[in-house]
């Protein structure tokens, strides 16, 4: 059995239920919001797809413009080819700013998950603290996020409560409000002590060098405002051409991700504090990350780089709902992850593309219209050609039968006999029965 299906089989029912219920709710909220916000959501998605495609086709001038504008605004730009380089750039910046032992607060960011930053910082002696409630729980539990937007979709309140109790965050309570305020109290002391704040970036505007971050809790604002140094990490593809593109993307992201018209905080970062300002970081750094993106850009899966990480495809995906993000074995999960992981890291990971019934619900909800099922099919093809996907039974036998009419008819006669032997179908279901007349005979005889 493949690891995905084995994971699904072993998943405890409570987790399965948490994931399913939350995903189904988010899916409905998405539909309700987008249809209330846009007179024609379809045209909004098409426009967003066009803009993101334009970005991929013009990445070079856009990124150069971003760099230049950031520079003007006082944001220091760094480049990193891979995870290792990104970690060392960030670690270097931290070392310049504070001594080991210092607190570094982190706002939720998939890019930093992707480069496994926390371990590197912790190994260097820093006290790294995830501040998004979900990410905080994940960190405390030595777990990993199971969803790119809602990291603890796989956990329920009892699990969180026990975890907080064990870690002296607060006394056991089953009230989400109280659990939240326990985390708030604990994390506020961390924010006050923090010397560096690290975040991701949702959109970076090439025209003006503005970094846009969205969030609901306020931890991202605190992480990028309270400490003396702010380091933002972004995948190189996260650029948008102009400020005028922002409203569409902000609406689509908030609507698709969490069913909101706008996230609670949309943070427009223009640069470090001006001399007369009373607060804000003295330094803002932007780390532009490749880590497989430029390979993906040049390859057959480049469309996946249009992604704005809304998570709608995860929420709607029946396969994701069965397994949670953990079943995918990668930071990026769900339909998005099944394409992005191999697109970034190579066709060695193509087998994950098999974890899909190809139902196409993902493409239907994707705000930038990424043809995910088609990309999954291409990945399967490449995986088979390059032998990173090996089917237990080769298809050559099937071809031999399906290209010869007489063999085909004889084999069909034998199909119902399959029920006599145990087979993977009948492990979960009754075998189909021949129902009524045989079509071929009927057609022959009526003629």
């Amino acid at each position: 059995m493949n690891p995905f299906d084995a994971f699904v089989r072993n998943l405890d029912p409570a987790t399965g239920k948490s994931v399913h219920d939350a995903s189904a709710t988010k899916t409905q909220q998405r539909i309700d919001t987008l249809s209330a916000v846009f007179p024609d959501p379809e045209s909004a998605r098409s426009a967003a797809a066009r803009t993101r495609q334009y970005v991929l086709d013009h990445l070079k001038p856009l990124v150069l413009s971003l760099e230049e504008q950031c520079h003007k605004n006082g944001i220091v730009v760094h480049w990193a080819r891979d995870a290792k380089e990104a970690r060392s750039v960030i670690l270097g910046l931290c070392r310049q700013s504070c001594r080991p032992g210092a607190v570094i607060v982190k706002a939720k960011s998939m890019a930093t998950e992707e480069i496994h930053l926390n371990h590197a910082l912790a190994d260097a002696g820093y006290d790294v603290v995830e501040t998004d409630l979900g990410e905080f729980v994940v960190q405390l539990d030595h777990d990993t996020p199971s969803h790119i937007v809602t990291p603890i979709i796989h956990k329920n309140r009892y699990q969180v409560a026990r975890l907080f109790e064990e870690n002296n965050i607060g006394t056991y309570t089953e009230k989400p409000e109280e659990l939240t305020s326990q985390a708030r109290r604990h994390l506020r002391t961390q924010f006050r002590r923090a010397e560096v704040g690290i975040s991701g970036v949702n959109f970076a505007v090439a025209e003006t060098g503005r970094l846009v971050l969205v969030e609901n809790e306020g931890n991202s604002r605190l992480s990028t405002t309270a400490p003396r140094v702010h380091i933002a990490v972004m995948g190189i593809e996260k650029v948008l051409p102009s400020e005028a593109d922002l409203p569409l993307f902000l609406r689509l992201l908030a609507g698709s991700a969490t069913g909101q018209r706008a996230t609670v905080y949309t943070h427009f970062i223009h640069g470090p504090r001006k001399p007369e300002a009373l607060d804000g970081p003295d330094e803002v750094h932007l780390v532009i990350l490749d880590n497989g993106r430029l390979d993906a850009l040049a390859g057959p899966y480049r469309d996946i780089l249009r992604c704005i990480r809304c998570g709608a495809c995860l929420n709607v995906c029946p396969v994701y709902r069965q397994g949670s993000g953990h079943a995918y074995g990668h930071v990026y999960s769900g339909p998005l992850g099944a394409v992005l992981a191999p697109a970034l890291e190579g066709v060695g990971l193509a087998a994950i593309a098999k974890a899909s019934s190809l139902c196409g619900a993902c493409e239907e909800v994707c705000p930038v219209k990424i043809p995910i099922p088609e990309l999954l099919l291409h990945l399967r093809d490449q995986g088979v050609r390059e032998k990173t996907i090996v089917d237990p039974i080769p298809w050559s036998g099937f071809v031999a039968v399906a290209t010869r009419a007489y063999l085909w008819r004889t084999s069909l006669q034998a199909v119902p006999m399959a029920k006599l032997v145990p087979n993977p179908w009948s492990r979960h279901r009754h075998m189909p029965r021949r129902d009524g007349r045989d079509f071929r005979r009927w057609f022959r005889e009526r003629a």
């Binding site: 299906d5 397994g323 019934s357 099919l377 399967r380 085909w408 069909l412 009754h430 021949r434």
Partner: protein, 231 residues
Amino acid sequence: MMKVRLMLTCLCDAFYGEVGIATVKVLEHVGCQVHFDARQTCCGQPPFNAGDWKAAKQVAERCRSLFEGNDPVVTPSASCAAMVREGFKMLGVEPEVPVFELCQFLRNVAHVERWQALPNQRRVAFHRSCHGRMLGLGSTQEDLLRLVGNLEILPLNETEQCCGFGGAFSVTHGNTSKGIGQQKLSQIVASGATEVVGGDMGCLMHLQGLAERLGVPLQFSHVASVLGDAL
């Protein structure tokens, strides 16, 4: 009289002959002359979805050449129609075959606007198959069924959710497939229906096998059979 060519599909060939028969009856009722080429086998979707495109292409090429020509090809399966329309393109199997899913043909080509009533009242849930998405079917199949008297289509939640069949996926990812199917069955049961109607025998075969294994008392019928029963 319009000449159409029937693409039977492997499932109707192997198990569900009555669906093929009903399809012929329905097509003849709307004035078509139905041709069936007995040399037909499979469209190549199983190896295509599995990623063995070399194998898929051989089967698809044969299928395409068998259905060469301009007369519409009609098939009681959105899945096979999507393979022939979209999958062939991806495989580079050309030129195009003028293929239609049965309801799509009835509505958009034969312009069916009314239908007979069923002899007895039936209350059903309609399962949209996912391949209908790729064909842009939308509500075509339900719209057609709404023309049938004595047929009540009960509202079903989460219609965008797959049944979990997915062809070979149902055996390579059996536990996942089963889990998804169970969700679908529970939505169907919640709708109050005792019968499920769908346009793809793949979905129905999987759901039926699962319902029988789990002891959920439900009937499963193909759209063609429902339309045929009303004639």
